[in-house]
């Protein structure tokens, strides 16, 4: 029986209720209770209360949701991502830096298309991976908002086409064309210039260095028939005598010299001997402060010193007597003992003095050993005589067109020459300057050149050492490389990139490129950044030297060609002439002898608008944001000027008059300055450089004069009485060590006898019942923490070593740190409040006559100790966060914003910091820096962080600290992290030296070593075992992760007394 069961839904179904049947056809048997938004009521056009509430509720929620939405942030807006850029991953490009003054082969870190950091290129045989403060800062100069954004014609923005048209017309109209450039070290540029001069026969190329080495060049011309500067190899010298040459910080090729010098100064397990360095100078320079024996001398005496030395080494000249003859005798003796291992350099720009120095080196057999005249250094080629001639030509109205490249003559030329008037007489004035500077603003056309980081090019700083320049960013503005402009005007339309490429293909590739396609060769060169051609330029066609010099080198080609490195160079003028030469040495005038010098920060002033450099403390004076008169405190006492003792920041303002020019400048006490002399730094007092540079300090270039056909940076000067006060912003206002062993020091003899000399750590007695034991502070530990989990450093234990023998105090590390860690610029006013933000500082201490002598037990006179000697010994000590393992700062932080990482870093969590500053107070090293204000986007601090362009330099890996938080050296934790991740990706251990902190990387002398204590093979671990190793303030048992190596001087202990004696003779 089939299943015919009937399931009825309720009675209505059972007895087929008609309504039920009807409704059963609908999907829903009953009216659904849908009344959302009041279906029925809407029909009646009225909104009942509950519906109103529904609307209300909905709209309120909607509104509030809309409010919650976060504002849209733009990320890198790539439509098509360039395959070589990965957001967050830096690209490195090898290129070269050259601004007409400083050269360095560099690597540029490029993040998301922005160059943010410059580092040295280890492949370079010239700069050896070193950098200087100025080179480090160049990356910020790229983002200088004072740069002009395109060609300017007659003071108003114009276009390249019009500029080209007008200038070409002007050139075609005949008349004398003069091309005034800085030294050109680029073969390609030189080729372009030659093309230009070939196109316009009336054109002449004049080379001008703001800080001139003309005297030296002329001297070499006289001595060797070559107007070139030789290469100096300090590495080979066991005795270095410098007559006022600041070769570690400024002279010719400082980075190169510093690297060589450091090799001879470093000591260690294998190496127990070091070079002896004697400095005879006027102003206390970076180089002089590193000398083992420093003889202060007036500029006029330096020339005479050269004569005396020459006489003493058998040069057959008659010397006048000098206050410090006795010392010169010993110097000469030492020189003669080291024939062939000696090197004598001289900073004078007087041809006669340089000729004498040449003969001294000749007599010592330095040529071919420590000095190589056949391997010229092309960094300085200026010819002062030509420049003077040019100005006269201009005055007489014989110059139709003047084109200027990398020069700023109306700022840098002696006032006496009257360049500005002469310039008015020139019909067509063209400048390639990147800003409307003092000269460019007077030109008819400014055809802005690229910044070096935007341009193509090449360089040959030293014969046979080539390096390439490639752009690391698309030009920020509508600029064009100067060479391209020149080529265009001489009718050659090739773009400069292919011009350079072509040039290399014909030249270097032809010689070096054997067995590879040019493209491979080219990309390899681009990758390495440098290439050496066995110590000789490949072909005269690309020797980056001015035509005249070119001719010379051609002339001496034959002699040079067969002259191997060791061969005796061209004969020197004979003794008879030398006496004549000696008699032409500039004599001292009356009054103070003024010696103008170059500062490590600003150099010749080309980068003056770079706030990093303005705020870089001068290595010696520690002053920022100003130039001033340096004067020996003893002289100041006589003149009754303020000695600025006890952290007094108000200097006496006086009028200094020299060569008929009077300037109002503050007098800053500068121990070590030769008695009866004063010094003033060049490069300041810019008027049209930009907001950071304008009206900072005084321009002293006008004081320079022409003596013996060269620019002279010395003259006699008169000082007025006090004219008022002037606020000086120095980062260090106390100058002596107060008899504390902050810097451990010893002499070479002592060190050779006992490697721990001057570094015997204090022992503390511990009386336990009857027997007492002796321990170092580190051994005495309340908790023996290392035993506890969390305190041991299981994987890494980062640390740093600083070799006080290698540190020359140049300050490259400071700028490098600024760039890497977004350290803000705070300006003069804040620095004067002792609120500089630098994470690493270089403490500079002078010795004091009152310093307790070793072994003596007489009571200390602290008040006396506050005053440095008139001629003190100087020590430099870089200090950054010590990353103490018993950090006083960590303990006192109420919110645990600073604590220790498991790999030994003292960490700072900015966003946890509430800013009690307790940590800074409790830091014995005072390395913590507080954000007193909001230093970014704050009109009160109108530097690069308040400037959209300037902000592009910021490192995206490091946060910009907000107002009210503490900050300090992080040991470049972002780099450590990057290194760890790279190693992790490759599944390997971190290789020692793979991670470099910014300071360590920048150091031209490798004084700073970063590494891992847990890696027993690491450089750091080895240094940790060195007998010279010590910790700063070890006795308070902070157990720092940064260690120092005792400073060793190659001098008798009596060096200071000797200097003191010299000072007495002066008095």
């Amino acid at each position: 029986m089939g299943n015919n069961k009937k399931y009825w839904k309720g009675l209505a179904d059972l007895n087929n209720d008609p309504d039920f049947i009807k409704s059963a056809q609908n999907e829903f048997a009953e009216e659904l209770p849908i009344n959302f938004l009041g279906k029925d009521s809407r029909a009646e056009g009225s909104t009942p209360r509950r519906d109103f509430l529904k609307f209300l509720g909905f709209s309120v929620t909607a509104a509030s949701l809309a409010a919650c939405e976060t504002p849209v942030r733009k990320v890198i807006p790539y439509v098509i991502k360039p395959e070589d850029i990965t957001p967050g991953i830096p690209n490195w490009y090898a290129t070269s830096y050259y601004d007409g003054h400083d050269y360095a082969s560099i690597l540029v870190k490029n993040r998301d298309g922005r160059p943010i950091k410059i580092e040295g290129n280890k492949n370079s045989t010239v700069t050896r991976g070193g950098t200087s403060a100025r080179v480090q800062a160049a990356v910020l100069s790229l983002y200088d908002s004072a740069r002009i954004s395109g060609p300017i014609a007659k003071g108003s923005p114009s276009s390249w086409s019009t500029a080209d048209k007008d200038i070409a017309a002007g050139l075609a109209s005949g008349g004398n064309i003069r091309l005034l450039t800085s030294t050109i070290i680029s073969p390609s540029s030189m080729k372009a210039i030659q093309e230009f001069t070939a196109k316009y026969p009336t054109a002449k190329h004049v080379v001008y260095d703001a800080i001139s080495y003309s005297g030296m060049l002329d001297a070499n011309k006289a001595s060797f028939g070559k107007r070139v500067i030789p290469t100096y190899n300090f590495e080979k010298a066991s005795i270095i005598v410098s007559l006022g040459a600041d070769f570690l910080a400024n002279w010719i090729s400082p980075i190169e010299h510093a690297a060589q010098y450091a090799v001879t100064r470093k000591l260690g397990a294998g190496k127990k001997d070091m070079s002896r360095h004697i400095q005879i100078e006027t102003n206390l320079t970076v180089t002089g402060s590193n000398a083992d024996l420093r003889i202060p001398a007036k500029p006029s005496e330096i020339g005479q010193a050269a004569v005396s030395l020459l006489a003493a080494v058998g040069g057959g000249v008659s010397a006048k007597s000098l206050p410090f003859d006795d010392k010169l005798k010993t110097v000469a003796k030492e020189l003669l003992e080291n024939k062939g291992k000696a090197i004598v350099v001289c900073g004078s720009n007087d041809v006669n003095v340089q000729i004498l120095v040449n003969s001294i080196n000749q007599a010592l057999g330095s040529y071919g050993t420590t000095i190589n005249i056949d391997k010229p250094n092309y960094l300085k080629q200026g010819n002062d005589a030509d420049v003077v001639a040019l100005v006269n030509e201009m005055k007489s109205g014989n110059v139709q067109t003047l084109i200027m490249h990398q020069v700023n003559p109306s700022y840098t030329l002696p006032a006496a020459l009257g360049f500005d008037e002469a310039l008015k007489k020139v019909k067509l004035k063209v400048s390639f300057a990147d800003r409307a500077d003092e000269t460019a603003s007077q030109c008819d056309y400014i055809c802005p050149d690229h910044h070096i980081l935007e341009s193509w090019g090449d360089a040959m700083p030293v014969e046979g050492s080539y390096s390439l320049i490639q752009p690391v960013i698309f030009p920020l503005f509508n600029t064009r490389s100067a060479e391209e402009s020149l080529l265009k005007w001489s009718g050659n339309d090739t773009d400069y990139q292919s011009y350079v490429k072509k040039n290399w293909q014909d030249g270097i590739f032809a010689q070096k490129g054997a067995g590879s396609s040019f493209n491979d060769f080219w990309s390899k060169c681009l990758f390495d950044g440098v290439i050496d051609t066995d110590g000789k330029a490949v072909a005269a066609s690309v020797a980056p030297v001015a035509a005249e010099v070119n001719a010379d080198s051609k002339k001496t080609e034959s002699s040079a060609a067969d002259a191997s490195i060791a061969a005796a160079p061209a004969p020197v003028a004979n003794a008879q002439d030398l006496n004549a030469v000696a008699s032409n040495i500039p004599k001292a005038g009356n009054g103070y002898e003024l010696s103008l010098y170059e500062k490590t920060g600003l150099g010749n002033g080309v980068q003056a608008n770079n706030p990093w450099l303005q705020e870089l403390p001068d290595p010696i004076s520690k002053v920022t944001w100003d130039n001033y008169i340096t004067m020996n405190p003893r002289d100041m006492r006589e003149k009754g000027y303020n000695l600025m003792e006890r952290a007094d920041r108000n200097a006496t303002l006086v009028d200094v008059t020299a060569n008929g020019i009077t300037l109002a400048l503050p007098v800053y006490p500068s121990p070590g300055q030769a008695i009866g002399t004063i010094g003033i730094a060049l490069g300041y007092g810019r008027t049209k450089a930009g907001k950071a540079a304008n009206e900072v300090g005084q321009n002293v270039y006008p004081i320079t004069s022409v003596v013996n056909n060269t620019f002279s940076y010395v003259s006699s000067a008169a000082l007025s009485d006090a004219k008022g006060e002037f606020l000086i912003a120095a980062t260090q206002t106390h100058h002596t060590m107060m008899g504390r062993t902050v810097v451990h020091e010893t002499t070479l003899d002592a060190y050779q006898k006992d490697a721990k000399a001057g570094n015997h750590t204090e022992k503390f007695k511990l009386q336990l019942g009857q027997h007492h034991t002796e321990h170092t502070a580190t051994e005495l530990d309340l908790w023996a923490t290392e035993k506890y989990p969390g305190h041991d450093k299981p994987i890494h234990f980062w640390g740093m070593a600083i070799d006080l023998n290698a540190c020359i105090g140049c300050g490259a590390c400071v700028i490098s740190c600024n760039a890497e860690n977004n350290v803000p610029v705070v300006g003069k006013a804040e620095v004067a409040m002792a609120r500089d933000m630098h994470w690493i500082r270089i403490d500079r201490y002078f010795s004091s006559d009152a310093d307790p002598k070793e072994g003596s037990h007489e009571g200390k006179n602290y008040t006396e100790m506050e005053n440095p000697s008139d001629y003190p010994q100087v020590v430099f000590q870089p200090v950054m966060c010590m990353h103490c393992n018993h950090a006083p700062c960590e303990t006192v932080c109420p919110v645990a914003a600073t604590m220790h990482s498991s790999d030994g870093l003292n960490q700072m969590a900015y966003n946890r910091c509430v800013g009690t500053r307790y940590c800074a107070n409790n830091c014995p090293y005072k390395v913590r820096r507080f954000n007193w204000f909001k230093y970014s986007d704050n009109a009160e601090f109108d530097f690069n962080m308040n400037d959209d362009l300037g902000k592009m330099v910021l490192n995206p890996d490091v946060v910009v600290r907000s107002r009210g938080v503490m900050e300090k050296c992080s040991m470049c934790v972002q780099r450590i992290q990057e290194g760890k991740l790279n190693a992790k990706k490759d599944g390997r251990k971190i290789v020692d030296g793979e991670i470099q902190t910014a300071c360590a990387q920048a150091c031209p002398t490798n004084a700073i070593t970063f590494g891992d204590y847990n890696d027993k093979e690491s450089q750091l671990s080895k240094l940790n075992e060195d007998e010279r190793m010590y910790h700063l303030l070890e006795e308070i048992n902070t157990q720092p992760s940064v260690l120092y190596l005792t400073k060793v001087r190659n001098a008798e202990e009596t060096a200071t007394d000797g200097v003191a004696a010299a000072s007495k003779q002066h008095a």
């Binding site: 106390h734 060590m737 609120r835 910091c913 509430v914």
Partner: protein
């Protein structure tokens, strides 16, 4: 029997006051309009308060850079003022707690005002804790609260966290102590109130107190226990404040003598401030009969003793600095005497060590004018003490390269002067609206006191 053994005692209240007189005298200022002197004082203080508001908002609005601090001297006037105010606060608690434990009846006329002073002083101190922070809006972070950073806790090793606990405990406990004492007096004011407003407000403030036997029994027990816990508390507070310095490594701070030395100094400055205040108050509110020369004398003795203790502490510090033979330590103290801040050190010495010694003479001790002047001197001296400890220790610490000088800006000065304005504004309001003498408790001694006076009278016949 109290009558007999109190033969030799000075009367604590002058004039034959009945219980009612006392109520009348103490409530008069509350019930009558303030007199001219009050208004003058109030307007001056209010101006100070205004300056305080301006300077503080300027600092918090633009940044701590408005102050004269620098990379080496991270604390100066801010913490100096903080410690100074906290120290002043101590006298109040000391009078009400320790003297209660010692059954010193003479405290009764002054403890109310002194406790009020404590509370206002601690408020002033607290303002400096907040304003000295780089990011004052995060002032609650040093309190161990669960937070959005995955419960990142505070660091209990830090003396600043100890401070947070000490100061907050000290403030709240003093407040409670003070208020529980006020309740019966409020009740009295309430019951005599004639106006609606006063009825309502004092009714509210008095928590419905009726003074039944059981209430009084509990009341006295509570006061006793509060006194018992407040005594170690008040000692602990300045001990902990001193640990801010004592636990650090800075030469001149790192000193084990600090806790007792700071506590003595606190009591010293506190009593001086009480003198300053009461000598004015008794005049302005004409309470000469209650706050008598005897009270002044008694407090001067305390000042003399604590002053001498402080003096000994100074000398001990120097001895230890020399005896330890620690380079940095000995220089730190030499620098105090002969360094650039010698003037601060010597003003401290003069004000704190020499001036109080004048109190050996009872003539000076019982002279209002002299007491007032000396009390001001002591206040100044104790301010300098903190300045010397903080600034002269910091400005020349370990590495000479970082040595600097410090000088204040108008903003800092403004905040300090302003805080005094804040303090006096609060105190004047207290003097106007609160019973400045704990008269309910004072009444307990009236009977014996009056008998004593009568006998004294008989003697003279």
């Amino acid at each position: 029997m109290e009558v007999h053994d109190s033969k030799l005692r000075e009367p604590l209240i002058l004039g034959d006051k009945s219980l009612h007189d006392i109520t009348e005298d103490v409530c008069r200022p509350i019930e009558s309009k303030p007199n001219r002197m009050w208004w003058i004082a109030f307007i001056i203080s209010a101006c100070g308060l205004l300056w305080w508001i301006i300077s503080d908002s300027y600092t918090i609005g633009t940044g701590l850079g408005r102050w004269g601090l620098n990379k080496t001297v991270g604390w100066a006037w801010d913490i100096t003022n903080f410690v100074w105010w906290v120290g002043i606060g101590h006298a109040g608690t000391l009078i009400s707690a320790i003297l209660l434990l010692f059954r010193q009846k003479w405290r009764l006329s002054i403890n109310r005002a002194a406790e009020a002073m404590t509370i206002f002083a601690v408020i002033c101190a607290a303002t400096f804790i907040i304003s000295h922070m780089g990011r004052p809006w995060l002032v609650y972070w040093p309190i161990p609260l669960p937070n959005q950073f995955g419960s990142l806790w505070v660091n209990f090793n830090s003396p600043l966290v100890w401070d947070v606990f000490a100061i907050s405990t000290y403030f709240s406990v003093s407040l409670v102590f003070w208020y529980s004492g006020l309740i019966p007096d409020f009740a009295a004011v309430r019951d005599r109130a004639t106006t609606k407003g006063r009825k309502f407000w004092y009714g509210l403030l008095s928590f419905g107190w009726v003074g039944s036997a059981k209430n009084w029994q509990r009341f006295e027990e509570v006061s006793l226990v509060l006194a018992g816990v407040s005594t170690p508390l008040v000692l602990s507070v300045h001990t902990i404040v001193s640990m801010d310095f004592a636990t650090s490594v800075i030469p001149g701070w790192h000193t084990t003598i600090f806790p007792p030395y700071f506590v003595a100094g606190a009591i010293f400055s506190g009593f001086a401030m009480v003198q300053t205040l009461l000598i004015i108050t008794r005049k302005v509110l004409s309470l000469e009969d209650y706050i008598t020369i005897y009270h002044i004398d008694m407090m001067n003795r305390v000042i003399l003793i604590t002053g001498s203790i402080v003096g000994i502490a100074y000398i001990t510090e120097f001895f230890i600095a020399w005896y330890s033979g620690v380079e940095y330590e000995s220089y730190a103290f030499l620098n105090r005497m002969t360094g650039p801040y010698w003037w601060a050190y010597w003003s401290m010495m003069t004000c704190n060590v020499i001036t109080p010694q004048l109190f050996w003479s009872s003539k000076i001790r019982t002279s209002l004018a002299a007491t007032f002047i000396i009390s001001i001197f002591v206040n100044i001296g104790m301010w300098f003490e903190r300045f010397v400890i903080i600034v002269t220790s910091l400005h020349r610490d370990y590495l000479p390269s970082s040595w600097t000088m410090y000088s204040p800006t108008w903003v800092e000065v403004g905040i300090f002067i302003g805080s005094i304005g804040l303090f006096f504004t609060l105190f004047l309001l207290f003097a106007k609206f609160f019973p400045v003498i704990a008269f309910s408790e004072l009444k307990t001694i009236v009977k014996s006191n009056n008998l004593l006076q009568k006998r004294g009278g008989q003697h003279h016949e």
